[in-house]
């Protein structure tokens, strides 16, 4: 709460509705009371008041492959309304982060972090058998599979769920859910909608089907037979947009237009977490990019393939926005505060955490995909899933898979992209074209330079021996000396393609390794240079500024004039408003 200032994921805590988990008693299998041995620790900072982590020292160490039974008697009070991913409002309950979760013993030590504002979780796999007793009329959804529903005769029913190989368990219940079911490949899908948004049920179902199909086809088998999608209640958005094994929460609003694909985005994203977070159980505290960032990358690819390539996130009133553009925009505004890999509570700001956890990794992996090719990248992702499923991979493990599958040493890329805050920006600094002049010198004769022979790529090759007079006949076409000067403005070094376009339609493609601070390309041709551009297809999504990637000999002001004309109109229209009539207010509903 100190870190968040009482605001989490856009929701403010209701001071009357605090939630907590209280461990009442800890006993051994034999009934020994171990409660007194519980000791709160704060491994991440000096906050002695933080009681989100406790250790329980055992009388003797547990040997490798040995087991122990520890009974926790605890009380969980849910925040009202839902806050920080869990809570209740009126008849609706979303029960997440509700039990004392055991940390991960990894690398010869316990990895167990405090509960931070801008962080998620890290836990280990296990088997869950959970019995939940709720009012009989309630519909319930949970992680895992329903084993049995038993009516208790007192207007309550007990739902028994079983989940294997999961590292978290969440559940939800409400008497008002409207259920939609469907199937995608071998996965049964269940969507629990709020009654006032039930008309969006099929839309949610279709999005879930899309998610399952793409992930299974592209990245590997989803290891569970079912998926539950929960539509959070109005006023309970604090538990929305979240992932749990086999259960995800979405989030929508009544009247959401089809062209604003928020439903599709959130479902594809949250389902993706069943791969990147659940199946590949990376440490969300320490390497948040591995779940959120990789998931953002896969979300970008799926949205583009399914709903793109233009306007896959937003296509409304003539405004088109891609998911990639959306994340690139987010990255641009928080590009260089921190390296991508950082402990989540140590980022400069919430904005930096968001950009480095979600957007920057999404953009950098898209850049890598464009560099390696889509096929190779998909192979890398599939191999990553295959090799590290049900394990706890780290950043280095992912890099190792990428190097291995691609057959290249990509460390140069990952070191800059993940472990530094270097920004990437290549620009065309200068372009020129002029009539080639015959060289002059005292007591020396130069030939007239021949086209394409002498000055390509900045290399000066020996001039032709023939004399200027003999070559410079009237039949010789006029030659032009042109130049393209490229600069690397950012610290991130990346190979780039440069395309020089000439008046006769010729395009010369150059490759530059991007290592030095600048590079000059020179040409002698019987045609003038028209323009030059770096990465004309915008494959390098990490580039901070596409606008400076090109230059034309003659500036085109068409676009500026059109944009100015449009904006002028809107300025004139709005200036006309206050006194005459506030037409535009009629189109802005307020809630």
């Amino acid at each position: 709460m100190k870190e968040s200032g009482g605001v989490s994921r856009g929701n403010k805590i209701d001071k009357e509705g605090w939630g907590f988990i209280e461990v009442n008693k800890i006993t051994s299998a034999a009934g020994e009371d171990w409660t007194g041995q519980m000791e709160f620790i704060h491994p991440d900072d000096d906050n002695a008041e933080d009681k989100t982590v406790f250790r329980l020292p055992l009388a003797k160490p547990l040997a490798h492959n040995d087991s122990i039974i520890v009974n926790f008697d605890f009380t969980a009070k849910l925040p009202q309304p839902p806050f920080a991913r869990t809570g209740a409002k009126a008849e609706y309950f979303f029960v997440g982060q509700w039990f004392p979760k055991i940390g991960v013993y990894i690398d010869q030590q316990w990895n167990c972090h405090q509960f931070h504002a801008n962080s998620e979780f890290f836990a280990d796999y296990g088997v869950y058998n959970v019995r939940m007793t709720v009012p009989e009329k309630n519909i319930l959804g949970a992680t895992g599979l329903l084993v049995e529903k038993k009516t208790n005769g007192d207007d309550t029913a007990t739902h028994f769920y079983h989940a294997e190989d999961v590292h978290d368990f969440a559940w939800t219940t409400s008497p008002e859910f409207v259920e939609f079911t469907g199937r995608a490949q071998d996965v049964e899908i269940r969507v629990l909608m709020q009654p006032d948004r039930a008309y969006q049920g099929l839309r949610h179902l279709e999005a879930a089907k899309t998610a399952v199909e793409y992930f299974q086809n592209w990245y590997g088998d989803y290891p569970f037979p079912n998926l539950t999608v929960v539509d959070p209640r109005r006023g309970a958005g604090g538990a929305g947009g979240m992932e749990y094994p086999t259960l995800i929460t979405a989030g929508s609003t009544y009247g959401l237009p089809e062209g604003l694909r928020a439903v599709e985005l959130v479902i594809i994203h949250e389902f993706g977490h069943n791969y990147w977070y659940h199946l590949l159980a990376s440490n969300e505290f320490e390497e948040s990019w591995m779940d959120e960032g990789i998931n953002t990358y896969t979300e970008i690819q799926i949205m583009s393939d399914k709903y793109g390539p233009v306007g896959d996130a937003l296509d409304l009133f003539g405004i088109k926005l891609n998911t990639l553009q959306q994340h690139r925009g987010s990255y641009l505004f928080n590009a260089d505060y921190d390296p991508t890999v950082r402990r989540t509570w140590e980022y400069y700001s919430g904005g930096s955490w968001g950009a480095n956890s979600y957007s920057r990794p999404g953009v950098l992996l898209t850049t890598l995909q464009n560099y390696l090719g889509k096929e190779t990248m998909q192979k890398i992702m599939r191999a990553y899933v295959e090799r590290w499923r049900f394990k706890h991979p780290k950043t280095r493990d992912f890099i190792e898979v990428a190097n291995d599958v691609s057959g290249q040493n990509l460390n140069w890329f990952f070191e800059q992209a993940l472990f530094s805050n270097a920004t990437l920006d290549y620009s065309v600094d200068r372009v020129f074209t002029r009539e080639a002049k015959k060289g002059e010198g005292y007591d020396f004769k130069f030939s007239v330079a021949t086209p394409d022979s002498a000055m390509s790529n900045g290399k000066n090759e020996p001039a032709d021996e023939s004399t200027a007079d003999s070559v410079a006949s009237k039949s010789q076409p006029k030659l032009y000396e042109s130049g393209v000067h490229i600069r690397r403005l950012g610290a991130f070094k990346f190979p780039v393609e440069v395309v020089a376009e000439f008046a006769n339609g010729e395009k010369v493609r150059e490759q530059w390794d991007g290592q030095e601070l600048w590079k000059k390309f020179n040409y002698i041709k019987p045609t003038k240079l028209v323009s030059a551009s770096i990465d004309p297809e915008h494959k390098i999504a990490l580039d901070m500024n596409y606008t400076n990637n090109s230059k034309a000999i003659e500036a085109a002001s068409l676009g500026v004039n059109k944009l100015t004309a449009r904006l002028l109109f809107w300025m004139q229209f709005l200036l006309d408003q206050p006194e005459f009539m506030s037409l535009f207010t009629a189109f802005i509903p307020s809630f």
């Binding site: 009126a90 090109s550 230059k551 500026v560 004309a565 002028l568 300025m571 200036l575 006194e579 009629a586």
Partner: protein, 307 residues
């Protein structure tokens, strides 16, 4: 009554085209004042980049984000301009309205002296009228909260989203209505001030409120009719403007001309509203006809007096 006011109002506007030009040019001037720094920022950022040509097509969202990112400081200055210029523009339009009403009220030919003299004469009063009418604006603005109250009364504190969604639209409609009503009252207050050469703006405001309430159908009908015409024009304008999307200089010129024609039309609507309202006001507030008494006198047996 509405049409009988509208027709002479429209005739009046046709007879004073130069005044129309003044209103239109004022709007264009302030629009340019706002847009020119933005254009300079755009040109500076784009430079010789091929983006300059690409923007002739669809708006590139990548460009938009880059532009905002790389012009953050200039953007905040521009934002300040966006707050100041509309306020100045509105004051200037208020100033011009005095001139327009003065010319319409005198029902004489437009002359610069008459127009600008009237503008100057009434500007101070109109500024005071603005201050006096603020409570009216606040009161009318609160109309929308009737929806909130009704929603709470019938559906409680936690209504389903479809209720609050449609309720939101009703609220927006009530808000638009409140602006329309306020505009009407403000207009008739100004008309009252001009016609009666009233110095006390509180009195003009009171007279306007009274006039509007006593003649609600006529006053609201006239204002709403012109509002509807303006809305219809926008509905016609939008697809036409969207169709002018080809990246060519000629098309951009056509787009600009279409836009300016639309703004000229809006200026015409504004002046037509002033003139029609003035006619309506005069028509409904005219003095009663002289009373003629007739009587029969029985002259039988009476001899008229003679000198």
């Amino acid at each position: 009554m509405i049409l009988t006011s509208l027709q002479p109002g429209w005739q009046m506007v046709r007879a004073h085209k130069r005044m129309l030009a003044v209103f239109y040019l004022a709007n264009l001037f302030f629009g340019l004042l706002l847009i020119w720094p933005l254009r300079a920022m755009l040109k500076n950022f784009i430079g010789d980049s091929m983006m300059g040509g690409k923007l002739g097509g669809a708006l590139d969202m990548d460009f938009l984000f880059e532009f905002i990112k790389h012009n953050e400081q200039a953007g905040s200055v521009f934002f300040g301009l966006v707050l100041i210029v509309p306020a100045v523009a509105w004051l200037f339009t208020l100033f011009l309205s005095g001139g327009a009403l003065a010319v319409f009220a005198q029902d004489e030919k437009y002359t610069p002296a008459r127009f600008w003299g009237g503008a100057a004469q009434y500007f101070g009063r109109f500024c005071r009228l603005v201050l006096w009418s603020l409570p009216v604006l606040v009161l009318l603005f609160c109309l929308q909260y009737f929806e909130s109250g009704a929603q709470r009364l019938f559906f409680g504190k936690d209504p389903y989203e479809n209720i609050s969604y449609w309720g939101g639209w009703i609220k927006a409609g009530l808000r638009a209505l409140s602006f329309l009503l306020f505009g009407m009252i403000f207009d008739y207050a100004r008309i009252h001030a001009v016609i009666n050469d009233e110095n006390k703006m509180r009195a003009s405001l009171g007279a306007a409120i009274k006039f509007v309430s006593q003649n609600f159908l006529a006053t609201f009908g006239l204002a709403f009719l012109l509002f509807a015409v303006g809305a219809l024009a926008l509905v016609i304008y939008n697809p036409l403007a969207d169709s002018l999307a080809a990246p060519s200089g000629l098309v951009i010129l056509l787009l600009f001309l279409l836009q300016q024609f639309y703004m000229l039309f809006r200026a015409t609507l504004r002046l037509t509203l002033y003139a029609s309202q003035l006619h309506l006001y005069r028509g409904l507030e005219s003095t009663p006809a002289a009373i003629t008494l007739t009587a029969e006198v029985d002259m039988h047996g009476l001899t008229p007096a003679t000198e």
